[in-house]
């Protein structure tokens, strides 16, 4: 069994930067001509100051979205990439490959491929011979051992590759999305085999998108995001964090999309629109959080290239959960604007706002007098918050109320 205190992999402040040249000079002429020019390239920070340890006998999962740097990290651990900064310490014999079947040649037979693949993984001929029968047995390819690899079904190819990987007997096994191949039966067989591996005190590092795999098999997991470690901990927590993160990203994406749509709609009707709304307090200070009973000024900035006669500005206030609190417009309020032209603003004032703690969404719109042409309509685009000093309030609105007995 593993001595759990021993460290198998120590990653110490590792950073990795890729230089992506704008124009790759793959000809000598280009390189010669550009010797004196400043080299132009984009730097891409794939990993930023990443430190963690993997203990011996651990099944360690690395999870993250595309571009989070997880594959880069695995490649650095394997020695395929050299880190820009930082150090890697490996204690034990490491499998230097990330994908199954690396180095197999389709023209060779299964037998020849076991020897070729084994050598690439760093095994001696003697070591391969010793394991040959076990590899063949595990892959269930006894009858096809002298058949060319290219004539194997993809399932058979994976079986052979996995068998070789398992019996390469590295102490530390690195795997990148290995389970993306094969049917679910085979995937389970692989994972069970990884479990056996761990019981022998060997270490497995697995990079995956699959939360279920991490939660079911890993002892510990790490969540990466944009080259940073978000969290290291129990697979359950990491999995949940990952789901949460994905949800947040999704929310952000939707919001941005909406924003774009809104902006589009704002300027669709010629060059007329509401350019911004800012919230001010009674002293004219810009702020977004108010107290209950404060005056709130919503300054609506507009722009109109042509003259609009008798425009109507309207607003609507909604609570976070969509309750429509109020929706006045200048016409119903009896506030007649003769005309607008060019840039300007209009103040909408909520006197002694009788609202309790919460976030409120403001919708603003600009119409013609008959309300038949919507020049601008920005639905729930602007948010202000109320933070009430009074405790124990229930509901949304503070009504002028009294009690009598």
């Amino acid at each position: 069994m593993a001595k759990n205190t021993e460290i198998a992999i120590k990653v110490d402040a590792v950073s990795k930067r890729f230089k992506i040249p704008h124009e790759k000079h793959s000809t000598l002429k280009a390189a010669v001509l550009n010797i004196f020019n400043k080299k132009s390239y984009t730097e891409f920070q794939a990993l930023e100051d990443v430190s963690f340890e993997v203990k011996k006998g651990e099944f360690f999962g690395i999870i993250g979205r595309n571009g989070s740097g997880k594959s880069t990290l695995l490649k650095i651990i394997a020695g395929i990439y050299v880190p820009s900064r930082g150090k890697i310490k490996i204690n034990g014999r490491i499998s230097p490959f990330l994908e199954l079947g690396v180095g197999f040649n389709p023209e060779l037979t299964a037998r020849e491929n076991i020897f070729l693949g084994g050598s690439i993984l760093g095994l001696t001929k003697k070591e391969i011979k010793k394991r040959f029968n076990k590899i063949v047995e595990f892959s269930e390819l006894q009858d096809f051992i002298d058949m060319k690899f290219k004539n194997f079904s993809s399932g058979m190819q994976v079986r052979l590759a996995f068998a070789l990987a398992i019996y390469a007997h590295a102490e530390i096994l690195l795997m990148d999305e290995v389970l993306a191949v094969g049917d679910s039966n085979f995937q389970n067989k692989c994972l069970e085999e990884f479990n056996k591996y761990r019981e022998e005190g060997k270490t497995v590092v697995l990079v995956t998108h699959d939360i279920a795999v991490v939660q079911r098999y890993c002892d510990r997991a790490m969540l990466l995001r944009n080259g940073d470690i978000v969290k290291i901990g129990k697979p359950e927590d990491i999995g949940n964090e990952y789901i949460l993160q994905n949800m947040e990203d999704e929310e952000k994406r939707i919001q941005e999309e909406q924003k774009e749509n809104d902006e589009e709609s704002t300027f669709r009707e010629g060059d007329v629109g509401i350019t911004n709304v800012e919230f001010l307090d009674s002293r004219g200070q810009e702020r977004n959080v108010f107290g209950t009973g404060d005056d709130i000024v919503a300054r609506i900035h507009y722009f109109s290239e042509d003259t609009i006669e008798k425009p109507v500005f309207g607003v609507a206030i909604h609570t976070q959960d969509g309750i429509h609190i109020s929706g006045p417009n200048t016409r119903t309020s009896g506030f007649m604007i003769p005309e607008i032209q060019g840039e300007g603003y209009l103040d909408f004032i909520i006197k002694e706002a009788p609202l309790f703690t919460g976030a409120y969404k403001l919708t603003v719109a600009l119409f013609n007098w008959n309300l038949s042409i919507p020049y601008a309509y920005q639905k729930k685009k602007y948010t202000f918050k109320i933070k009430s000093a009074e405790e124990n309030q229930y509901g949304v609105v503070k009504l002028e109320t009294s009690w009598k007995i």
Binding site: L28, K75, I80, N105, E107, S119, L121, G122
Partner: protein, 264 residues
């Protein structure tokens, strides 16, 4: 269990060479016989053309074997360097997915050509047996020249392979260079045909020195060597160059190797 990352260099090189060799003749009926048959036919053609048609080497004793040896050695150099050139770039997929010492790929490419050389030498010795050349006590020293040749070739290959990752022009530059070197080396013509003042320039090249020394050791001790053409300290240059190129090539390759996975 081993505690440090050790690598079975030799095992992998051997396995890769065997694979290359197997693949080369995999689907052919005569298989390995081709590796002997091809040089045999080629040599036959050369002999007819250069001894019956051109008669360049009329005054040179044993010109046929003299010519053959030059061609055999030259073929190794071109084959080894040209396959080595693409040895890294051609295996890009492997390099991006698994770590192993990259130098193995380039050394393997050079040594695969060595197998061809050894087979060609077997054919060469068959030809020699039919001519009236007899080996001397010094002939076994040819092994040392062969080792020098391998070191030189691998050194050049290391430069070419690592340069090619960054500058693809090298392939064309090398193609042209090889053609120039072919005529700048006494392969088809005997060195004695060359005006004296050019002889010394030609002999500075390790290629000329290697071919001339091999002829000296195996065919005729009348062959002029670096020591005949160059004065003492200069005559060492062709012997030292392979070592310098090998060591600096190794250093250069290893410096570049850490970035191969990103650059390919």
């Amino acid at each position: 269990m081993k505690k440090t990352i050790s690598y079975n260099y030799f095992g992998l090189v051997r396995e890769l060479i065997l694979t290359d060799f197997k693949l080369k003749y995999k689907a052919s009926f005569f298989g390995y016989l081709w590796s002997l048959g091809k040089p045999l036919m080629f040599f036959g053609v050369l002999l007819v053309v250069f001894t019956k048609f051109f008669k360049i080497g009329g005054s040179i004793p044993n010109y046929p074997v003299y010519l053959l040896l030059g061609i055999v050695l030259w073929t190794f150099f071109t084959e080894a360097t040209i396959t080595s050139l693409t040895s890294i770039v051609g295996k890009g997929d492997l390099i991006r997915k698994v770590y192993f010492p990259r130098i193995i790929l380039t050394v393997t490419a050079s040594l695969t050509a060595l197998i061809t050389l050894l087979l060609n030498l077997v054919v060469f010795f068959i030809f020699m047996a039919f001519s009236k050349v007899s080996l001397t006590a010094a002939s076994p020293l040819f092994i040392l020249i062969l080792i020098e040749f391998i070191i030189f070739t691998i050194g050049v290959s290391l430069y070419l392979a690592s340069f090619f990752v960054r500058f693809r022009d090298i392939a064309h530059i090398w193609e042209v260079t090889i053609q120039v070197l072919f005529y700048a080396t006494p392969i088809l013509y005997p060195l004695s045909f060359v005006p004296d003042r050019y002889q010394s320039v030609i002999m500075l090249s390790p290629l000329s020195q290697i071919i001339q020394d091999s002829r000296y050791l195996l065919i005729s001790n009348e062959t002029s060597t670096a020591f005949d053409v160059l004065s003492f300290p200069f005559s060492l240059i062709p012997y030292l160059l392979p070592v310098v190129i090998f060591i600096s090539g190794y250093w250069f390759f290893e410096r570049e190797a850490s970035r191969f996975a990103e650059d390919i």
